[in-house]
């Protein structure tokens, strides 16, 4: 195995990782604060991808239409998430987690069909933004600028959200909300607003990730179910509810998949699932999470 090979495979794994991190971080945040495992997170991601395509098409696929489209997709999905939380999900908080699980699954079904209705069933794609066309050479590998951008965006968002969570008053409130909702209620904090905001931020991350994937992967029905499985594995490995755990979970997932394809191709898919199983058995709260009762 040459250095060139290792670097190439590492970079392809890293691109996968940072993408998954962008998606899984929202899933993990919502679980950490609200204890809701949101199956519809993948659907939000898909809606983000379609919205990005829509805006690019409106603005014509010339110039740098991709950037406003990505932002619009993130914001659009954030609004959708906030509306869903305020109108529906909110009424299920006191109930068994079974009802919340099924509620998010109902969203998967409805949003999946809504996307088919609005954007058809074929395969759509978005061109790479011209400013990031091309790539550079690194130890015998061509690294596309777009992949580099993704690798940079993932940690950037992680650090931003991480800082917000640890340094600001809103962040402290969120962590308090995840620790003890009743106490926060008693203190007079507007938990309802915090939850809505949380859900909107999580949806924004999903929508943004959906938009950012479009120059690399096609937009097709079914991408929602595919991605939620991957995001699920990432958060389980890293630790549900643990933001940095999700980061490392995504790193591990990407590299295991990437080097799995290189070394044991028959087992590459299986290896990430096996890793998830081992983590669940040894540390059900994830490699970087803390046990929550």
């Amino acid at each position: 195995m040459t250095a060139s090979l290792l670097v190439g495979q590492f970079l392809s794994g890293l691109t996968t990782s940072m993408f998954l991190f962008l998606i899984a971080s929202g899933l993990s945040l919502v679980f950490g604060v609200m204890r809701v495992l949101n199956f519809a997170h993948g659907s939000f991601y898909m809606i983000g991808a379609y919205l990005a395509w829509q805006v690019v098409t409106w603005l014509h696929p010339v110039g740098e239409a991709f950037w406003p489209a990505a932002l619009a997709a993130g914001l659009g999905v954030a609004v959708l998430g906030a509306v869903v939380e305020r109108l529906l999900l909110r009424h299920l908080y006191g109930l068994d987690e079974l009802y919340q699980l099924l509620f998010t699954y109902a969203l998967v079904l409805i949003l999946g069909d809504a996307a088919k209705y609005l954007w058809g069933t074929g395969q759509l794609s978005v061109h790479r933004p011209p400013v990031l066309d091309g790539g550079f050479q690194l130890v015998g590998n061509t690294v596309p600028y777009y992949n580099l951008f993704i690798i940079a965006v993932g940690p950037a968002i992680a650090i931003t959200v991480g800082l917000v969570l640890s340094r600001t008053a809103a962040g402290r409130m969120l962590r308090a909300a995840s620790a003890d909702r009743e106490m926060l209620d008693a203190m007079g904090a507007n938990v309802g607003l915090i939850y809505t905001g949380m859900f909107a931020v999580s949806s924004f991350l999903a929508g943004l990730a959906g938009a950012l994937i479009t120059p690399m992967e096609s937009i097709v029905p079914g991408m929602d179910v595919q991605v939620i499985v991957q995001a699920f594995i990432v958060v389980v490995i890293g630790g549900l509810g643990s933001f940095w755990g999700t980061f490392w979970g995504a790193m591990i997932y990407g590299q295991v998949l990437s080097f799995g394809i290189l070394i044991l191709p028959e087992f590459s898919l299986f290896s990430v699932f096996a890793l998830m199983a081992v983590v669940l058995i040894v540390r059900p709260w994830g490699l970087f999470g803390r046990p929550i009762r």
């Binding site: 529906l88 509620f103 699954y105 109902a106 898919l269 299986f270």
Partner: protein
């Protein structure tokens, strides 16, 4: 207290028995599917309704059952009489291993671990080309040998699909009756005690985990049996039969009918399969309709159909009683 129980399983079984003779080929086809789905849903309800365990990975045992039966019958040419129980045993065996880890967790973590294990089973079925056929599964799983039915009166006139309906109905009825016995046994009452108050059950000296694991294995075994029938019914086994949306589907069936009622899952299976057939006549957007049904259930009818009927019946009785008083 000592009033004789109505043998519902037997009555329903007898009522459904003549379907292949009086119904169309299409109705027999639907009947078979409903029977198999009903067993799957009833097995899930052992966990969900009886014990209060939210398993989001029940499809794993259904899928293992269908693959075990399909592989034994198609690849190894084993007869159904061996492959069918093997499917149940195989699924139960996996349920022992997975359940051992799952019951150590509670609530949402239990749900997630069950989901995770079911995804591992899916990944194996999806990738292990040599044994499971991978992505394309195993087509052309043979029907059980049903030639012996030819000598039976009336049954001899039926075609193979009619005969398979009868075979499925008998097996499903026996399984559901067995599950009913389990629910009503002292063991079943302990499960209900765990559901109602896990801490108290542990406090009075119940080995909660052992009980939970036992019921997990039993439910897995019955799910495996229903999966075995499903694979034969569809003449093939495919990775979709182990994929997580099927877990959600069976859960919807159970809740739609009413998970607090023994016959809830069966009612749910019937209504869902029938609705699917009716609605797909008019629109391709069945998933959206299913999602909407689910929303209505969650927000307006949390007790499911049977719960709603019971509530409606009680309200009616109160109304009539009120009239009587006036």
């Amino acid at each position: 207290m000592s009033a004789r129980r109505i043998p519902w399983t037997l009555l329903i079984f007898l009522a459904l028995l003549p379907l292949p003779w009086i119904g169309s080929r299409y109705q027999t086809f639907l009947g078979t599917e409903i029977a198999i789905d009903a067993l799957f849903a009833v097995s899930l309800n052992l966990l969900l309704g009886t014990t209060g365990l939210v398993s989001f990975g029940h499809v794993a045992y259904f899928g293992i059952g269908s693959y075990v039966c399909g592989i034994l019958m198609k690849t190894y040419g084993l007869p159904f009489v061996l492959a069918f129980p093997a499917a149940g045993l195989g699924a139960a065996l996996f349920a022992v291993v997975f359940g051992f880890f799952c019951v150590r967790l509670t609530k949402i973590y239990f749900a997630m671990l069950t989901l995770a294990f079911s995804q591992i089973v899916w990944a194996v079925c999806f990738k292990w080309n040599a044994v499971t056929g991978g992505d394309q599964g195993i087509a052309d799983v043979p029907f059980p040998n049903m030639h012996w039915m030819a000598s039976l009166p009336y049954v001899g006139d039926l075609n193979i699909n009619g005969r398979f309906y009868l075979l499925s109905l008998v097996l499903v009825a026996v399984c559901i009756a067995a599950i009913g016995q389990i629910t009503r046994s002292p063991f079943g009452r302990m499960l209900t005690a765990i559901r109602d108050n896990r801490e108290r059950a542990a406090f009075i000296g119940l080995n909660v985990r052992a009980y939970e694991l036992s019921v997990f294995v039993v439910a897995g075994g019955f799910a495996g049996l229903s999966g075995a029938l499903y694979g034969i019914f569809n003449r093939g086994v495919f990775p979709d039969y182990v994929f997580w949306p099927k877990s959600a589907e069976v859960m919807i069936m159970t809740i739609l009918g009413g998970m607090n009622y023994f016959w809830g899952p069966t009612v749910g299976a019937f209504v869902l399969v029938w609705l699917n057939q009716e609605i797909t006549n008019y629109t391709q957007y069945w998933p959206a309709v299913l999602g909407s049904i689910l929303l209505i259930l969650l927000f307006a009818l949390p007790g499911g159909i049977l719960g709603g009927l019971a509530r409606g019946g009680a309200a009616l009785r109160r109304l009539l009683a009120g009239r009587g008083d006036a």
